[in-house]
């Protein structure tokens, strides 16, 4: 029992389970999944589908945070990538062609990658603080996206493009498969190679890692490129969902939700050891919470407050300090010494 409680995923998993329980008690249809024309529908399926953009962005954010960094530009990168993709489709003679859409998607991702290279350059080569370095793009990116779309909200009607966000592959939404593919490939690359361990080393102690011969520059740079590429894909999913490129609204505030997902998943903002599974849980918590807010009909003006309250509760319960206080209280109640806690730097 103790080991289960100690497990780093215990609290996020418990939070998600609680949310799901509360939801299914309040509305029994929450858990209901129906099959229509060989495709599954229901609130849970919606959560899996709608969480795809945040999932991608949060996975990238996890790796960036592990290197002691932060990437504020993800929302802007989403806007740019959506704008690039839609502009290409819009300008082509065959917006319904699969080839056109492929070209648009690949170009958009390539552009996002260039933006990631830029971020990584500022942070790892020029040594600019990550928060400042990525702020540049966060502010300039949306302007660039507007430039791409000439200041309009470009809309398109393209079957293959709309498929990315709303289509189904066999019985499940295509977007869900994108999430799964991203989770699986990142997990494999980080944990089957030594990249994850070296990333953690760089995040925990950059100077010790440098002395041990770790290529920290490359690792940090790579993290920003990965983050931007994933944001680029997220931008495409977002644009496909609304069938438009909206440079002002695409990915708005997503950087904050992504950071939140990472923290909810138990990865410390101080960098170092990270948990991809935790981030996945964090994203699902946020998405379920969003769905709850929608369902409960909380007026949109108050929904941020509700959101904040739930998040504060989860984060506080997870905090080591709070937990050791609770334990100390319990122990002194039983007139016993509390468990040993590790040394707190004075």
């Amino acid at each position: 029992m103790r080991n289960i409680v100690r497990h780093r995923l215990f609290w996020p998993a418990l939070a998600l389970a609680t949310l799901i329980t509360v939801n299914s008690a309040a509305r029994p249809q929450f858990l209901r999944v129906t099959m229509r024309d060989g495709e599954l529908y229901g609130a849970l399926i919606d959560i899996l589908r709608n969480s795809a953009p945040l999932m991608l962005v949060a996975l990238g954010m996890t790796i960036v945070i592990a290197t002691r960094g932060i990437d504020l530009s993800v929302g802007a990168v989403m806007a740019v990538s959506g704008a690039v993709a839609l502009t290409i489709i819009d300008g082509s003679s065959d917006p319904n062609g699969v080839g056109t859409v492929l070209i648009a998607v690949v170009t958009a991702i390539a552009v996002a990658m260039v933006l990631g290279v830029w971020n990584g350059l500022l942070v790892s080569v020029f040594g600019i603080q990550p928060i400042i370095a990525t702020l540049v793009l966060m502010l300039a990116g949306r302007g660039a996206a507007l430039l791409v779309t000439d200041g309009f909200i470009t809309t398109v009607n393209s079957e293959p493009f709309a498929f990315i966000a709303s289509g189904y592959l066999t019985v499940l939404p295509f977007a869900f498969f994108i999430s799964v593919a991203a989770i699986a490939s990142i997990a494999i690359v980080e944990r089957r190679t030594a990249l994850g361990m070296l990333t953690e080393a760089v995040g925990i102690n950059p100077e010790a890692s440098r002395l041990a011969g770790v290529r920290s520059r490359g690792i940090i740079w790579g993290a920003y490129v990965l983050s931007a590429v994933l944001a680029g894909i997220a931008g495409i999913i977002y644009a496909s969902n609304i069938k438009a490129a909206d440079a002002n609204a695409a990915g708005l505030l997503i950087e904050l939700y992504a950071i939140l997902a990472v923290v909810l998943g138990g990865t410390s903002l101080q960098g170092g050891t990270f948990s991809l599974a935790g981030t996945v849980l964090g994203v699902l918590i946020i998405q379920t919470l969003n769905s709850t807010i929608l369902f409960m009909g909380i007026p949109s003006a108050q929904s941020p407050v509700f959101f904040a309250v739930v998040v504060v509760v989860v984060v506080v319960i997870q905090s080591q300090k709070v937990r050791s206080w609770i334990r100390a209280l319990g122990a002194s109640g039983r007139n016993r010494r509390s468990a040993a806690t590790t040394e707190v730097a004075s």
């Binding site: 953690e200 925990i204 102690n205 011969g213 730097a345």
Partner: protein
Amino acid sequence: MDEAVPLVELSGVKVLYGAERALDDVAFRLLPGEVHSLMGENGAGKSTLIRVLTGALQPHAGALSIDGNPVRFRSERDALRAGVSPVYQEIDLLPNLSVAENIFVGREPRRWGRIDWRTMRERAAEVLADLGLTVDPTSELGSHSVAVQQLVAIARALTAEVRVLVLDEPTSSLDTDEVGELFRVIRELKQRGVAIVFISHFLDQVYEISDRITVLRDGRLVGEYLTTELLRVDLVAKMLGKGIPLPHERQPYEDEADGSLPVLEARGVGTASLKPTDVSLGAGEVLGVAGLLGSGRTALARLLTGVDRPDRGVLLIDGDPRGLASPRAALAMGLAYSSENRRAEGIISELSVADNITLALQAQRGALRRLPPARARELAASWVEALDIRPAQLDKPAGELSGGNQQKVMLARLLALAPRVLVLDEPTRGIDVGAKAEIQRIVGELAEDGLSVVFISAELEEVLRVGDRVAILRDMHLVDTLPSAAVTIDSLLALVARPTETES
């Protein structure tokens, strides 16, 4: 012996880390005005006992009384209020603040509610001067050597209202002079009735300063003794549970007269602060480096291994001039550096012991060619055994090992690379007598197998014992390199300390 009421008394102390028992039924007492040494091997539980005493750790069982009254420290703040002032083994200061701020952080002198910077600077300079240290109190702490940082930590403890001064390996990177100053301060405090807990792996220091010795072994109390009644051999036997290991007697290094090139040669390398320096190192040679605080030992080591880049001069490896762009480039050529600062530049605390040991090897292979996990564990396990790292748990986060065992992990990381040249900056810092002899033996054996070693230590005796030759540094200047056989500890001490003027 008068049995006054102990100032501090701990009894029945038990501490568990998970399932591991770090202390079991340990008792410890401190009389007013005494210096009490706490002795034991690496991992015996000394620092853990200290943390119980300073309120940093809540024991699972045990009682604490001050002046005979039972108390309980829930935090370090409680302990500070009761006059218990600690200097921890791992320096826990803030490197990006100034020296003065570090000394007074949390209790800055105030005037009309605002921090009185001037008084703060002046008082900081005073305590530091009292410790025989002249550094600018406004300079950034992180820019100083470990030794200076250690003295700053001590100065911090001294400026509190201290009744019990707790010093966990305060001298591990100090030279004789600083140790002398520190001991003078300790004796003054003693006169005022302050009780002092002293931990050190240097037996000479323990015998010089302490009145009483408590020995721990494997988390258990062995006993409490009067220093005057405990022979050194007996102390060591009580600590280790066996006799002292013999120091390794190495075959003297033969300079091959066939004109083979030195493995590593520095010609006139220097920086803005370090004067141009010539060093040459043959295959299988151990070069000891002796010098006082601030003499340039670490600066030289860092230039030889690509950590810092020289402003002038060349490095030759096997006779070929090489520019070392980074530690990585140096490692690729077989030059490995072990920093004196294990907390900031050595240990990756949250990673496991196994990951820490294989880190450099993995970095060298590249991120994509992961060491097969089974092989990595096997390799780590073999080094854990070879260096007797305790506890022998590969998955334990390295930061949870005792100080001496962390030092061994760092050494294992570099040895796993099978380097050609090993530059060791204070490799035996904080290591117990048994393990120290062990590390000296390992260095000796590796040298016999052809590894070249640069061995830096504040302990001159060790430099002479391990080194075939000694490089003597003074005031950022290499003054001479002599065969070890040609110098004694006393003559070496004179050489490192001689003021530069007499030279000209």
